[in-house]
C-alpha cells in the first residue's frame, strides 16, 4: 500500500477535528473533536511504524500510550466540565468569558 493513503486520511481527520474544535459551542463536543484529532495522529504513527518496520515498534507502542493518555484526558476533562456545570449551570464555551478582555 502506498503510504499516502493513510497519510491523506489522517490529514482529513485532523482537519475535521480542527473544524469541530473551533466551531462547536458545547464543551463535551469540543472534547469529542479533540478525540478525532488524536485519532488522526495515531493513524499517522501506525502508518509510519509499519512503513519504517521499526524493530522497537515505537510507533505502535506510542499509539497505545496516546490512547491511554486520551482516556485520562477525557476523564479529567469531564470532571472539569461537571465542576463547571455545577458552578455556572452551563457548558457553552461562549459563556465562559470571565478571563477575557471586556467587550
Amino acid at each position: 500500500m502506498h503510504l499516502l493513503y493513510p497519510l491523506l486520511v489522517s490529514a482529513g481527520l485532523f482537519a475535521i477535528g480542527l473544524y469541530g474544535l473551533l466551531a462547536r459551542r458545547n464543551l463535551v463536543l469540543v472534547l469529542m473533536s479533540v478525540e478525532l484529532m488524536l485519532g488522526a495522529v495515531s493513524l499517522n504513527l501506525v502508518a509510519f511504524d509499519v512503513w519504517l518496520a521499526d524493530v522497537l515498534r515505537s510507533g505502535q507502542v506510542l499509539t497505545l500510550m496516546v490512547i491511554a493518555i486520551a482516556a485520562a484526558e477525557v476523564g479529567l476533562g469531564l470532571a472539569i466540565v461537571l465542576q463547571l456545570f455545577g458552578q455556572r449551570a452551563t457548558s457553552a464555551i461562549d459563556d465562559l468569558d470571565t478571563l477575557s478582555e471586556p467587550r
Binding site: 477535528g17 480542527l18 463535551v28 495515531s42 470532571a79
Partner: protein, 195 residues
Amino acid sequence: MGSTLIAEVAPSGGPADAPSYLDVTGNEVVFVLIAVITLGAALLCVTSSNVVRAALWLVVSLGGLAGLYLVLTAELVAIVQILIYVGAVVVLLLFGLMVTKAPIGAQPALNTRNRPVAIVVAIATFGLLVAALVDAFRFAYVDLDVGGQGSAETIGGALFGSWVLAFEVLSVLLLAALIGAIALTRRDVGAKGHR
C-alpha cells in the same frame, strides 16, 4: 502506460521500485472504503445538530479507525482502540452529555459564531498538510505482506522490553488523573464554604 506516465513525472532521486498508483491492490481498496466511512462519520460528528447523535457518529468514526489499523496490520492497536475508545471514552462522553443536561433533541445553536473562520482554517490546514505530504511521501510504499508486525506478541515484547519505563510512568500518570478526577468531583474535599 500508467507506470511510464508516473516514471516521466518522477524527479530523479525518487525510488524507482515503488509501484504505480494505478496498480490498485486489494488492501488499498479496503482501506479507501473504510476511510470513506471513517471520514464521513467524523464529518457528521462535528456537524450534527443533535449531541447524542454526534457521540454515536464518533463511535462509528473511531470504530472505522480501528478497521484502518487492522488493514495496516496493527492488530493489537485496533483491539485496544475498540476496547478503550468505543468501550470507555464514548461512554464517558455520553455520561458527560447526560449529566450536563444537554438537550437530547436537535439544537440550532450548537455552533459558535466562529463557524466560517473554522471552515476556512480547517480547509487551509487540510490543503497545507496534503501539499506537504504529497511532496514528501509520493514514492513511499508500505509492504503489508511481512506480517506479525502488530501482533500482541510483538507489541507486548516491545512494550515490556524496551518501553517498560515509559509504560510504568504512564501508569503513574493514569493514577494521578484518576485521583485528580475524584478530587475535582467530590463535594466534601477542597475549600470549605466554597459552595
